[in-house]
């Protein structure tokens, strides 16, 4: 019997090693898998490359990982926010490397990795600082920049419901990067608010089919907390 359910967040992240690349879902705190990140911090590994839209908000999640000094490099679109003080401090101290990627290119590069594409030509960023030094091409009279896929050893994502085969559905705008990160990582670990029986999720509405998900851990939902912009 295939059962991707694991007993705890600690067990779910037990093989994440120092130096690993780790995608973390979430847009701000919506969809951020805080408990998986807490377990990763508790494991004590460092030198991580983190892929997330932001670079931490407030004190929890990615912010806590940065505060703990575990992140060598972050690939993101919007690091600087009113509550990104842990990233700001680490960046100004030269302790963290930043690769800034336009948000849509971040999504497209993650999706390209998950889809097995060699690279993509994207119009976003053409003629700007973020395309400097990159190959460009004119196709049908429009200019494009060559961007390479972003893959990772692990993805930590948050979904609403899952089953033992790894099928997932999400909740509202907490979906954000979850489905594409699940495709782009070697090992995808989903924390879900509820694990349900096989067949209990209507197959017509499965968002991430189980083939993209290796581990599922049930963690009671903690969605309703405020955050700053």
């Amino acid at each position: 019997m295939i059962d991707k359910e694991v007993a705890s967040a600690a067990v779910a992240v037990a093989d994440i090693h120092s130096g690993a690349s780790v995608m973390i879902g979430g847009f701000g705190t919506a969809g951020m898998p805080d408990q998986l990140i807490d377990a990763l911090i508790a494991r004590g590994v460092g030198d991580l490359t983190i892929i997330n839209n932001n670079a931490g908000n407030g004190e929890a999640g990615v912010a806590a990982l940065i505060k703990a000094g575990r992140v060598r490099k972050i690939i993101c679109s919007f690091p600087r926010q009113s509550d990104s003080h842990h990233f700001d401090a680490a960046y100004r101290a030269g302790q963290i490397e930043l690769e800034l990627v336009p948000q849509g290119n971040l999504a497209a590069r993650i999706q390209a990795a998950g889809a097995g594409l060699g690279a993509i030509f994207t119009p976003t960023g053409y003629g700007t600082l973020l395309a400097e030094g990159k190959e460009t091409r004119e196709i049908d009279g429009k200019h494009y920049v060559l961007e390479h896929p972003i893959k990772a050893d692990f993805a930590l994502i948050k979904a609403h419901k899952g089953d033992r085969w790894g099928n997932l559905i999400y909740r509202e705008t907490a979906r954000n990067f979850g489905p594409i990160m699940a495709m782009a990582a070697t090992t995808t670990i989903a924390q879900v608010s509820e694990i349900v029986e096989l067949g209990a999720i209507d197959p017509e509405i499965v968002v991430s089919p189980g083939i993209f998900v290796q581990r599922v851990v049930q963690i009671a939902s903690t969605t309703n907390h405020a955050l700053a912009a």
Partner: protein, 218 residues
């Protein structure tokens, strides 16, 4: 000299958004446009973090922090609205499905180059978010901004000095003093506030501005 308030600017932009348009309103000043969309028009608001059919802010106490907009503020979803992941969201822009995007700006050039993501100061921590995707993705990109900086410098310029967000992507600029069309042929004034002459506007901006034949008071 008469100037439009920020709310009047928002109302002016809203007038140009037609029934059935798919629209993304950027963070900051453009979000005000939502307050002035005519009730009788059905207009679809997209938020790039993954929703279409965005409704107004929830009543206090009803906030759901998994239902937020791109500014990470709680919102609501209209009946008929939908959720989707980030790759689909940005395909809506890049793929040319979004009709109108309204953005703020530091500078816009007369050819429609946009600078709105980075001041270029060496100690600034850069953050781009969806600005570059939005600027080049929508069928029409509108900019909404005060025409002059606090120091009185024109933000409509011959050539942007701030780092660019996108090349030739803006088609129209709504300001507190005038409305402009911009593009390969340069800037053209299509509306101007009462009491301001085209000559005075040319002096304020330092630009050779063409005037539309049908130029109207804003």
């Amino acid at each position: 000299m008469y100037r439009l308030t920020r709310d009047q600017m928002a109302a002016r932009v809203a007038r140009d958004i037609p029934e059935g348009a798919y629209v993304n309103l950027g963070i900051g000043l453009p979000t005000k446009v939502a307050n002035y969309l005519p009730q009788e028009r059905e207009i679809f608001l997209q938020s790039e973090n993954g929703l279409l059919g965005m409704g107004p802010a929830p009543t206090p106490g009803e906030e759901d922090w998994e239902l937020i907009n791109a500014g990470k503020q709680p919102v609501t979803l209209l009946a008929g609205g939908s959720f989707f992941h980030h790759a689909d969201s940005f395909a809506m822009m890049r793929g040319g499905h979004l009709d109108i995007c309204v953005l703020g700006a530091f500078q816009v050039s007369v050819r429609g180059d946009l600078a709105n993501w980075h001041t270029g100061e060496p100690d600034a921590i850069p953050a781009v978010g969806g600005a570059m995707d939005l600027a080049i993705g929508a069928k029409q990109t509108f900019v909404m901004m005060e025409l002059l900086t606090k120091q009185g410098e024109s933000k409509l310029v011959e050539t942007c000095t701030y780092p660019l967000t996108g090349l030739g992507c803006v088609s129209r600029i709504y300001t507190d003093l005038a409305v402009f069309d911009v593009g390969p042929d340069g800037a053209r004034v299509i509306e101007i506030v009462d009491g301001l002459s085209i000559e005075a506007l040319r002096k304020l901006t330092g630009l050779k501005l063409a005037a539309s034949d049908e130029m109207q008071p804003a």
